[in-house]
């Protein structure tokens, strides 16, 4: 029994891994495609960033006072400033549009007087949107940032001057912002010196990542198992297997374990590829990844990993058993794949819904519909394991296990009867047609 099972599993794994479609689709694609995607995003983001840094902008100084000239010369220090000389704003705008610059900094008349008199000097930023992309808005942000920096320096100088006139001493920053805000977050009773938004960002990324992982892995596994059964039926190798001195349950288990082994390999490849994707795609924005799970004392504890592993395993078994149950009713690879397409719908729907919301936020009816689908529980359990809600993980495991046992029972029944050889979707359809006519 054990030898026969090992024999079957080894055969199944060899057949699956050597099939270029599966090798490429399940193992190599995620390993190669994700890093390429990540690099592509990185390159495009880098080009946006360099576009922002090298952005040139125009300045129209209507005021022409001492303060405005000091402002313009400061702005010109590290930037490529195109001066606009025009008798009126209308002409200045027309001239600005004929330049390469996307942003015009307009210093209004009276700016220098206002600054000198201790009032607000007004400037206006004109953005010429030549095309709609992130770089265009980024250029406006750059000018905005430069003005803000100068604003701060100007403010500090004024505060320092006023303080020395009053013969007082103080930190200009403290005068401007006397109160400093620090953030901390309490999570599961632990006080973390991390802003809540940082943790929230991590949670959000996890809540998207986990459903996607479960969905992808299940899709792989279901397609593989269904195709494998369909090929066995098409080639009549299943017919041969059924006449060998080996139990039907052993044949079924061999198929299940072989597919699981490859699906797990695919999931590992996916996770490796995905982590490369994340690290390369977001390398331009380190603030997104700097709050690692360990820093936030979040992440999965060993018991959580164990439960997550159990969840993923039984989810895979249930998906595979369901795929096998359905695939036996087909007589070709093509019909098996189209049938599996239907099975993937209940996998995708909960994954997509739970990517954007939590179950509790949905209307009760939708909650119940989703809860009937076992793959909803796989996603809930993945999230719960991450948050340390192990009771919820156990509840999900129990539900998926019950479903899996039921499906395995049906699969075993089908395997132990001649239906595995005689059942056809076409005959079902014909039967229905006959009955309806």
């Amino acid at each position: 029994m054990v030898n026969s099972l090992i024999n079957l599993v080894v055969k199944e794994v060899k057949e699956l891994v050597r099939d270029p479609k599966i090798l490429i689709g399940v193992i190599l694609m995620p390993l190669i495609l994700f890093p390429i995607m990540g690099s592509a995003i990185n390159i495009s983001q880098e080009s946006v960033r360099s576009a922002i840094i090298s952005a040139s902008f125009a300045v129209y100084d209507e005021d022409r006072g001492a303060a405005s000239q000091a402002f313009v010369s400061n702005m010109s220090l590290n930037n490529n400033v195109i001066p606009i000389n025009a008798p009126s704003l209308t002409q200045a705008l027309a001239q600005f549009q004929s330049t390469n610059a996307s942003v015009l900094l307009y210093i209004r008349e009276g700016y220098s007087d206002n600054i000198t008199m201790g009032r607000k000097g007004v400037v206006k930023i004109y953005a010429n949107l030549k095309s709609i992309n992130i770089a265009e808005t980024g250029r406006t942000e750059t000018v905005n940032f430069l003005v803000s920096e100068y604003n701060l320096r100007l403010s500090n100088n004024t505060i320092n001057r006023l303080l020395s006139e009053a013969d007082e001493s103080a930190d200009p920053n403290a005068v401007r912002n006397p109160i400093a805000i620090e953030y901390a977050t309490i999570l599961k009773g632990n006080v973390l010196e991390v802003p809540p938004m940082a943790i929230f960002n991590v949670l959000i990324s996890q809540s998207i990542l986990l459903p996607v992982l479960v969905m992808i892995m299940l899709t792989f596994a279901i397609q593989m198992a269904a195709t494998s059964i369909a090929i066995e039926k098409e080639q009549k190798t299943l017919e041969t297997l059924m006449t060998l001195p080996v139990g039907r349950m052993t044949i079924l288990s061999g198929k299940l374990f072989g597919s699981i082994a490859v699906a797990v390999g695919g999931a590992v490849a996916y996770m490796i590829g995905f982590s490369f994707y994340i690290s390369s795609a977001f390398s331009f924005a380190p603030q997104l990844t700097s709050t690692s799970l360990s820093n936030a004392s979040l992440g999965i504890q060993p018991i959580g990993y164990l439960l997550l592993g159990v969840t993923i395993f039984i989810t895979l078994v249930s998906g595979l058993a369901l795929a096998i149950c359905l695939a036996v009713f087909t007589d070709s690879v093509r019909s098996a794949q189209s049938l599996v397409g239907v099975l993937i719908v209940p996998v995708i729907i909960p994954a997509i819904i739970l990517m954007f919301t939590d179950l509790e936020m949905l209307p009760t009816t939708v909650q119940w519909i989703l809860l009937v689908i076992p793959y909803t529980h796989s996603i809930i359990a993945s999230k719960a394991a991450f948050l340390g809600d192990y009771l919820l993980v156990l509840r999900s495991i129990v539900y998926i296990t019950a479903f899996t046992v039921a499906v395995l029972y049906i699969a075993a029944r089908i395997f132990s009867t001649e239906r595995i050889l005689t059942a056809r979707m076409t005959s079902f359809r014909l039967g229905l047609r006959r009955r309806s006519s």
Partner: protein
């Protein structure tokens, strides 16, 4: 003891009556042929003997073992070759034979002996190292036939063993069956459309039409009985299909 005793075999697939009470006997060590037109019930009969299907009624025993009640015991003494079957495309011929031997052999040594036997039967020699995906139809059939004979089953059930093969491969396959049965104590139940093949191979045969055995006997005896020059004429005479 008879190798196969089939009594009043009936098989329904929904409203379709595939077998209508087929009876036949196969003696130990003989090659027995089932001949009939498409849809006559040959494959259904072979599948029942091969424990893949259960008869709706009737009985079949293999070396005294009830195939319906004790299919597991029957599976230990038979090997079954489906019509136009394939092998696993991404295994090599050797790996395929080794995989199949794994279900019959108790240890590595026995398994390797079986594979060596398979290598001899198939005549594929070094091509056994290649993946099945690259095999021609004839090579594929030789591999499968070697698989079904290499473990020396008491009963080999061969459904259309030369179906779709060219003359050379068909000849080789027929020789393989004939020689193997002569050298080893193996009983063969086969189905075929090819009357020349049946006449060459079979010690006894049953003509089957519309789910029932319409004539049974040695090829020579059947020709005499129906005053025919060949089995084709016997078949046409018995079935009145012409």
């Amino acid at each position: 003891m008879s190798a196969i005793e089939a009594r009043s075999l009936m098989k329904n697939f929904g409203n379709v009556l595939a077998l209508k009470g087929a009876n036949f006997n196969v003696d130990e060590g003989e090659i027995f042929g089932l001949i009939g037109p498409n849809g006559a019930g040959k494959t259904t009969t072979l599948r029942i003997v091969g424990t893949l299907l259960k008869p709706t009624s009737g009985s079949v025993s293999i070396f005294g073992i009830d195939a319906v009640r004790e299919p597991d015991k029957v599976r230990r003494v038979i090997s079954y070759l489906p019509e136009e079957a394939g092998a696993y495309q991404y295994l090599s011929g050797y790996e395929y034979l080794r995989f199949m031997a794994g279900f019959y052999a108790n240890n590595q040594e026995t398994a390797e002996k079986m594979v060596d036997e398979g290598r001899t039967i198939s005549g594929l020699e070094n091509r056994l190292k290649d993946r099945v995906k690259g095999y021609s139809k004839g090579m594929n059939r030789r591999l499968l036939l070697a698989r079904s004979l290499m473990m020396k089953p008491k009963l080999a059930i061969l459904d259309e063993p030369t179906s779709g093969l060219d003359v050379v491969h068909a000849y080789h396959v027929r020789q393989m069956i004939k020689e193997y049965v002569e050298q080893h104590d193996v009983t063969v139940l086969l189905s075929s459309h090819n009357m020349l093949e049946v006449e060459f191979l079979c010690d006894n045969l049953a003509l089957i039409n519309e789910g029932a055995v319409v004539a049974e006997g040695e090829p020579k005896e059947l020709k005499q009985r129906f005053n025919a020059d060949n089995l084709e004429q016997v078949f046409m005479e018995v079935t009145k299909l012409g």
